[in-house]
Subunit: 397 residues, 2 copies
Amino acid sequence: MSSTLAGNAVIGQSGGPTAVINQSLVGCIEGLRQCDAIGKILGAHHAVRGMVDGDFIDLSEISQDRLDRIAATPSSALGSSRDKPDEQYCRDIFRSFEKNDVRYFFYIGGNDSSDTARIVNETARKEGYELRAFHIPKTIDNDLECNDHTPGFPSAARFVAQALMGDQLDNAALPGIKIDVIMGRHAGFLTAASMMARTRDDDGPHLIYVPEVCFDVDRFIADVDRVYSRLGRCVVAVSEGIHDQEGVAIATKLAQRVEKDAHGNVQLSGTGALGDHLVQLVKDGLGSKLRVRADTFGYLQRSFAGCVSEVDQIEARASARMAAELAVDGVENGSIAIQRASDSPYRAEYVRVELTDVAAKTRTLPLDAIVDGCDIDRDFRRYFEPLIGELPVIEQL
Amino acid sequence: MSSTLAGNAVIGQSGGPTAVINQSLVGCIEGLRQCDAIGKILGAHHAVRGMVDGDFIDLSEISQDRLDRIAATPSSALGSSRDKPDEQYCRDIFRSFEKNDVRYFFYIGGNDSSDTARIVNETARKEGYELRAFHIPKTIDNDLECNDHTPGFPSAARFVAQALMGDQLDNAALPGIKIDVIMGRHAGFLTAASMMARTRDDDGPHLIYVPEVCFDVDRFIADVDRVYSRLGRCVVAVSEGIHDQEGVAIATKLAQRVEKDAHGNVQLSGTGALGDHLVQLVKDGLGSKLRVRADTFGYLQRSFAGCVSEVDQIEARASARMAAELAVDGVENGSIAIQRASDSPYRAEYVRVELTDVAAKTRTLPLDAIVDGCDIDRDFRRYFEPLIGELPVIEQL
């Protein structure tokens, strides 16, 4: 295969925005600019939607200065989409690529995006059309196989840690029971990151519930009662994706009108229903006079401006740049995984993996990290520490 | 009155914690340390509760290094209280002060705290006991009379601005209707600060609702419809305290079991009910297929670790230090107001005002700042700019 394939490139940003998804966009542009054979570098407006409709923005001539500012801006500069392309949709994407002489395709997103890159790549191959198709990981859920962690996750984890640092001190000042609902449908990494808020014994969160284990209401009430009896307060971090023995998400049971997206996922974020429900469970179980509150971190945790992990910024940009460089060098397809080469000092490696190794699979927290169904093993701090970066100073009396 | 009154000092932190209330604590300690006549500098655990119970922590010997770290830590290091002292409660505080040879009393809090300082001061005077009693302002609601703004507000406003910056970009990437519920029972300053998230025309928040004007549901739906029709998306910032024509808070109508604190205030925060209700109103009014989401910023906006206004830190410390210095210099009582000496370059002045000028009064947004009941006048940016400080860089395609 030629390494000087001429043609245009398309970059898309899919799924939920993150604080560093524009670092990936810019890293990809920077990688592509090194190759003269590439004509235009096109951004697809609203992901696959823009690819099919031919709704592109020319990114070829943006100044480096402006690129740097775009990279530092949270959310997806190109716009995103929740469309889940089926085979026909992917054929339509391919037709549009053919029509626009697109030979390089980069799709920044989660495991569904990896699958889209794979299908478009296979469609092209069947048609004898040379196309290079790369997936560039992005997800705050941190649930992609082959990856130590995924771009977007460290910044979201940093937000969660900083939020809990403040919130558990707030709870210490005005004691009561506080429940914080954190994103994560199937994987509890982000909720587990709340453990990084602890700076002393007896700091919150005192209880952490992740979707890797079943959520039992009676057990939950007993856990809260135990902590509250001992400390006179209790801070709980809980994943939005917690579910019962049958695998039914607790949030699903509450929705008056359950809303599903194109991926068949029930809406979990953008509502306070789960948090309010858990508050009511605690009041029903332990007494209505208790001060019980819930906050649902919602979209703030993925797009907050100005709470970004430095490592995350660097890695998002570097892994995207590597995807572009591999494509330019003649590699037909792949996904770029971040692997941990060493813990201390922290060092990451970027490795090409097969699209099929990432596509439509979900990685979850290792079960041995979960303690008694309601906490995360202390050793897991080592995993989070280099990703989240230095946290604010906390000094208590 | 002697300027070398000998005795101990008590400092308390009241009401909702903020990101800089420990700056006030430390500023007060630093001011007091300059006076040799002062014996012990005591912190009251959980505010008035600790004063009555004699539950004090000795702050006299804490190293400057540790003080600096405490100052930088969010939430109330001494613990807070929601107790609203009546006359008898204040007499009990006085008895405890008398017993512990307390001659200097500093109460960091909102307008209720100013009233407590006033009553304790008057009780002491009636008993012929020389006591210096100062109120040190703190409230993210920014609702104290005589003040240009209050410590705690600039940091909370910064959080709101950064949150909206990210959130409105998130909404641009995945268009829909997004509702953000922001703290503020009677005063809309914090919700109004969301305007600072805008960096371009048509940036969100597109609609801003504050409690200074009545919230009309039909008008709200029509506003959202108008914005959504024009832009294909709509970001709404709304105060938790919005109320109907009769002055009844919308949130009150929703509470299954309305919870009130000792001040008679209905619980507004720590629940997603208002946001979820507004989502349902929009869906009922404009169509259930619309993507409508709500986030309630909750306690994050007042105690988030690592999102602090530098001006706020400096002013909280300086105004508390001034209270201590005035007390040491022989001034019997007062509250320290922050007034704006100049806008550009920004410069603040600290002014002693009477306790009665601040006590039990509420300042609200000037009505001429509110545009059409659903926005804030652009000129009001000048008010927020120096307080919030430099915001993250935003560059859009």
